[in-house]
C-alpha cells in the first residue's frame, strides 16, 4: 500500500485562517499605534507577527477539533482536514507549535504582559469557545467574541507594558460587535449550521429571536464605540467617525430587527448588516489611529 501524500504547504497556510488573521493583524496594529508610547519598529513588528501567528494557531487548533463539523457545512467542507488533504495529527502539531512559539517569542522579545494576554486569547478560543461552549450553547458567538477582542489589547500591552481604559473599551467594542456580525451571517446560512448540528441562535431560538438579539447587542456596542469621545480618550476625528458609522450600524440593525423575510436568499438587511459590519470595524480602528497620531 502506498503511503499518504504529505500535505501541501498551502494547506498549512489555510489552517491559519488567513482572512480572519487580517482583521486580527489590523486591530492589533491599531492598538499598538494608538498607544501613547513609542515602540521600536523591530519589536512592534515582532509583537504584530506573534499576534498573527497566535491567531493562526487558534485557527489551526479550531480546524483540528472541528474537522467532523466542518465536513457537514458547505462553507467549510473544502478545508484541508474535511477534504482529506491533511491528517489530523499534522494539524494538531502545527497548531501547538505555532501557539507555543508565538507566546515564547512575544514573552522573550516584547514583554510578559503581552505574552500572557496572547496565551490567554489562544487558550480561550480553543478550550473555552471551540471545545467547551460552541456545541453546547446558542450564546457561543458571544463567548467566541471575547477571543477575537484580544488583539487591540495585545497591541497596546506590547507598546506600553500595561492595560488602560481605551484598550479595554476597544476590547468591549469587538466583543459586542461580534454577535450582531455573526448572527447576521448565521441568519442567511442557518440551514448550513442546522445541518452541522451547531446550536446557533437562529437554529435553536428561531429567526425572530435572533433578529431581536442582533439589535439588543448593537445598542451596548454603539455605546462602547462612542464612549472614548465623551471620556476624553480620543479627539474629534474618531468621535465624529464613530458617531456617524455607529448610527448607520444601528439603523441597519433596526432594519434586521423589523424584517419578516424567512427565505434565506432574500435576506437583504442581514446581508447588508454583515457586509457593513466588516467595513465598520476597519474604518473605526483606522480613524482611531489617525486621531491618536494627530492628538500625539
Amino acid at each position: 500500500m502506498s503511503p499518504a501524500l504529505p500535505a501541501e504547504w498551502r494547506d498549512f497556510l489555510a489552517l491559519t485562517k488567513p482572512r480572519v488573521m487580517t482583521l486580527v493583524v489590523f486591530t492589533a496594529l491599531c492598538g499598538l499605534l494608538a498607544a501613547p508610547v513609542h515602540i521600536n519598529p523591530v519589536l512592534g513588528f515582532t509583537a504584530i507577527l506573534c499576534t498573527a501567528v497566535g491567531a493562526g494557531a487558534s485557527g489551526a487548533l479550531n480546524m483540528w477539533y472541528e474537522a467532523d463539523l466542518d465536513a457537514h457545512m458547505k462553507r467549510t467542507k473544502g478545508r484541508p482536514l474535511p477534504a482529506g488533504r491533511m491528517d489530523r495529527p499534522s494539524a494538531l502539531q502545527f497548531g501547538v507549535a505555532l501557539g507555543v512559539g508565538s507566546v515564547l517569542v512575544m514573552g522573550l522579545a516584547v514583554n510578559l504582559l503581552a505574552a500572557a494576554i496572547l496565551a490567554a486569547s489562544i487558550l480561550f478560543y480553543v478550550l473555552v469557545y471551540t471545545v467547551w461552549l460552541k456545541r453546547r450553547t446558542p450564546q457561543n458567538i458571544v463567548i467566541g467574541g471575547a477571543a477575537g477582542a484580544f488583539p487591540p489589547l495585545i497591541g497596546w500591552a506590547a507598546a506600553t507594558g500595561r492595560i488602560d481604559l481605551l484598550p479595554v473599551l476597544l476590547f468591549l467594542l469587538i466583543f459586542l460587535w461580534t454577535p450582531p456580525h455573526f448572527w447576521a451571517l448565521s441568519l442567511f446560512v442557518r440551514t448550513d449550521y442546522a445541518a452541522a448540528g451547531v446550536p446557533m441562535l437562529p437554529v435553536v431560538a428561531g429567526i425572530k429571536t435572533t433578529r431581536r438579539h442582533v439589535l439588543l447587542y448593537t445598542l451596548p456596542m454603539a455605546a462602547a464605540a462612542v464612549a472614548p469621545w465623551p471620556l476624553g480618550l480620543v479627539g474629534m476625528i474618531y468621535g465624529l467617525t464613530a458617531s456617524l458609522l455607529t448610527a448607520w450600524f444601528v439603523l441597519l440593525a433596526v432594519r434586521v430587527a423589523l424584517s419578516r423575510e424567512t427565505d434565506q436568499a432574500q435576506m437583504k438587511p442581514e446581508r447588508a448588516l454583515f457586509k457593513f459590519s466588516i467595513l465598520y470595524l476597519f474604518v473605526l480602528f483606522g480613524a482611531l489611529v489617525v486621531d491618536r497620531m494627530i492628538l500625539a
Binding site: 502506498s2 504547504w9 523591530v42
Partner: protein, 39 residues
Amino acid sequence: MTPEFEQEYRRRQRARAKVTALILGALVVLFFAIAIVRM
C-alpha cells in the same frame, strides 16, 4: 508506489522544504534584529 505518485510525493516534499527554509531564514534575521535592538 507508481512513478506518478512518487513524483508528486517528492514535489510536495521539496515545496515544503523550501518554505520551511525560507521561514527559518526569516526567523534568523528577526532574532538577530531583536538581539541588536534589545542590547
